[in-house]
Subunit: 110 residues, 2 copies
Amino acid sequence: MPTTTPKPGAPVRGSKSGRPIMALLDLLGRRWALRVIFELKDGPMRFRALQETCDQVSPTMLNMRLKELREVDIVQKTNDGYCLTEMGQDLWNLFEPLRGWADRWAKRQG
Amino acid sequence: MPTTTPKPGAPVRGSKSGRPIMALLDLLGRRWALRVIFELKDGPMRFRALQETCDQVSPTMLNMRLKELREVDIVQKTNDGYCLTEMGQDLWNLFEPLRGWADRWAKRQG
DNA sequence: ACTACTGCTACTTTTTATGTAGCACAAGGA
DNA sequence: TCCTTGTGCTACATAAAAAGTAGCAGTAGT
């Protein structure tokens, strides 16, 4: 049974409920998913450029994550490359304050 | 080379920079990490209870994530079980709006 | 001493991710 | 035309991470 893309409304790995928040946590908990969103936040990028900024992630993985993120309408493909959809942008905006938190966190750890 | 806990200031898997935000994305991108934080947000839980609410995640994994999250001061152990630290609570608060987003997302997907 | 619960560790199997090669297509010269 | 360059991948072998299951050591109670 191959892994499927977690979608709201359908049960996902790590949750029988299908609650949207669980599907989301599953999706974002996959390696490189958050990073891809992060790298796309400022505008479109082509496949290989994206690969580079994601520290040479393997094309296999990158393509897998891109497929998943496109399936659930967080990322889309345009003539200029991959970019966030409107939903995707909204999502990243929610993550925006993370940077501030991460900086405070860094200070505390010394 | 076993995987180490990503900490701000040190280079991590997926980033040479050691930028706190990258360390954070790496940490949270590990399976069950977000979920554990999610489950602990309302108060302390014991090991086995946590295991159950996380859909019977294997103790191996749970323990690994708990160790990582404790190392970086997001989770702590108390007499009543595991719970979020102050930093951890702050972190979850940032995620709080995710639920609303996820619900809108669910509607759009039909 | 026996039971029950708690927080794990050990071990095997399965799933995911990495690393590397290279293919098919398109555009642009020479 | 044939060669180059870039782009978006796929294939496949290997390594790392996670799942699944068993069970142990410590503590509290009876």
